[in-house]
Subunit: 95 residues, 2 copies
Amino acid sequence: MSQSDQQKNKTTVEIYNRSYTVIGQEDPHHVRMVASLVDQTMRDINEANPSLDTAKLAVLTAVNTMNDYLKLKEECGDLMDYIEKLEKEDKNGHD
Amino acid sequence: MSQSDQQKNKTTVEIYNRSYTVIGQEDPHHVRMVASLVDQTMRDINEANPSLDTAKLAVLTAVNTMNDYLKLKEECGDLMDYIEKLEKEDKNGHD
């Protein structure tokens, strides 16, 4: 998703009291869900750290989300390794 | 990761020319990698949209990362479904 105009849908969302027009291939329902999760994460971080300005809050939201993404990527990698193992066992008839 | 002080490591990182002290269980090397990915994403989005202020840039970085996270979560779910299928086949001896 980006604010460039190379793609299809144009969805306006509100995140932390500011409007964003997101242009991309994702359907508006999905974009609104993503925006709402970001908004909620910003509010949660703000609650724990009320002195942060919006930019710092948004950066820490991005940091937390990136951290979750990397953890999930590792889990996904583990699942793929497990699938490979299962498929190999399957091929070898468990010998 | 948060800016609260309930956990262990304290790592100072620079993201988009501002300093952040991240306190959490993750090791400093991991925190620096996460910070560097967020910094790079902000710079990429800035290149495509030079008129955005830092707060909007950071929010869009969070939006993009959240979008990637949700896509990966779906992929992870598909892998788990596939594992379940493989394990069931395995149990049933392919009948």
